[in-house]
Amino acid sequence: MSQTITIDPVTRLEGHGKITIQLDGQGEVESAHFHVTQVRGFERFSEGRPFYEMPGLMARICGICPVSHLIASAKACEAIMSVRIPHTAAQLRRMLNLAQMVQSHALSFFYLASPDLLLGMEADPAVRNVLGVAAAKPEMARAGIALRRFGQHIIELLGDKRIHPGWVVPGGVTEPLAAAKRDEILAMLPEAYANVGLALNVYKQITDEFRDEIEVFANFPSPYLSLINEDESIEFTDGALRLIDAEGNTIEDGMTAARFAEVIGEAVEPYSYTKFPYYKPLGYPEGCYRVGPLARLNIAKTMGTPKADVELAEFKQVAPGPVASSFHYHHARLVEIFYGIEKIEEILADPKILDKHVRATAGVNRLEGAGQAEAPRGVLHHHYKVDENGKMLWANLVIATGQNNNAMNRGVLQAAKHYVKDGKFTEGILNRVEAVVRTFDPCLSCSTHAFGQMPLALELVSAAGEVQDRIRRD
């Protein structure tokens, strides 16, 4: 008699998802799937709009990473316009994207993951949340809140809005940086360094307590994809894509946005609205890869900033080649926060950062364009086709969470096989299976969040449809 365990919705994610675990007649895990149960539809309703509206429209996809959509969309528009944006505009966009990365990673690490890491996977679910962290480790909760504020405030200073700033436009940005705003950001840096330093120290002290989780949390060899600069330093906004194999060998390099669709295909599965991108030469599913902080740190040879390079060197000591366990996404996020703060400081020291020339203008010079950037969760690709008047005819978006879809599913299966035995589960086991997904920090569709509290139910259902066991959180 086969049984199905359903975790619906999965909690502490950006959006709504569901996990089903299918047991065989002996009560052992047979298969497991992570379902994304929301529909986006942004590609379709952008059709017919003027292409220059796209950054503002696309930013509405997400309330956590609108900046990445703004930038990838603006770059796709600039490919249609055939313009190169001014140096200062490129630097300001880079700073905006890094600020978003810092606040998004802070949300993921401090609000969503730290309850598991600091309070324990088996902690009472009633306190296993950010308020529980505030009670048990107030200094960590304060650090998380401050880093969120740091990133959000920079976004607000640059774009005049914390969420969905309209400052990034095709051709550059609408306003140059004022000296007073530069000085305000510089004044925030010491506290930001201190807060991420505290988090890194705490994380390194507790990592050993999670040896079991590290072993089975999506721990398998896979290819990795991320942007990288020509000097092999990490990059979030420009550069080109590199794909490495599980041993760290480069299998695709210098991949521009225009080449993305030649190299990356998209498969679909009947159980999820999210697509499954894969590297075409390897086929599906063998060509599925991972993106995001783990991929970026596995691919980069250097962060390009001295303090973060020390942290990268320590991170790379985890394994002789690419770090395979997705549990280490948490560590990678903290290293990237450190880098983001340091890089922002470096950008603000650019002698041209207050330059007034921040926007190039042009009309439609090509009928097709693509742009890419690193969102906090990984590579984000926008691809547009327009008519000669600039009206949108077609759009395709490849988001980071989709690119991690296969790895999340494999990870859920790996953890479920390890933890669920004889058809029995506990709340702690349920949480660990969810926690595998949380390591990827998937953003399923932030713009359609439910209002209020999300309940969680896990049911064990027999082949006859009878509920044999149930755990529910209200």
Binding site: L112, N129, V130, L131, A134, A135, R149, M454
Partner: protein, 160 residues
């Protein structure tokens, strides 16, 4: 303990695309304009109250929370004291109640404003539209007068 940087903090929330849920944004815009020249009053508007706001509250002598209410009659304006609530089992990353925010402020910063009040306006409809209902529109003058009275009074620790 943090040093108060502002005498009165007005914290409004709501979504102007959801009918009467837009009363918070409307009143925040009004308060921003009304107190623009008054350094004692700070106005913050968010679609939802999130944990980051605890730090702002920790620097205020007096907090006025503004929200719509589905429990009151349409247009009914109420002002009630807010007490810090203990930690709940909610996810608490994207939305907190006024009481939970106060509880988090106390937990993190060992500080509470000397007084905290919640002003609510009863909602008639929160369906998708960018206009307030007639009942809520009619309540706006009273709500504005309440906010003005509360924000300008000298004693921050008196009741509603």
């Amino acid at each position: 303990m943090p040093t108060p940087r502002v005498r009165c903090l007005i914290l409004a929330c709501g979504n102007s695309l959801r009918g009467d849920d837009g009363v918070g944004p409307w009143l925040a815009a009004w308060a921003e304009e009304r107190f623009r020249a008054n350094p004692d009053v700070r106005v913050i508007l968010r679609q939802q109250w999130t944990p980051e706001l605890a730090e702002e509250i920790a620097h205020a002598e007096f907090a006025i929370f503004i929200d719509s209410s589905l429990e009151s009659d349409p247009g009914e304006t109420l002002v009630v004291p807010v007490a810090p609530e203990p930690r709940g089992a909610a996810l608490a990353t994207h939305h907190l109640s006024a009481g939970e925010l106060l509880g988090l402020t106390q937990e993190l910063f060992n500080f509470l404003p000397r007084n905290a009040l919640l002003l609510t306006v009863g909602a008639d409809s929160t369906e998708l539209k960018e206009e307030l209902s007639d009942a809520v529109k009619a309540a706006l003058p009273q709500a504005c007068a309440e906010i003005e009275r509360l924000a300008l009074r000298r004693e921050a620790n008196s009741g509603p």
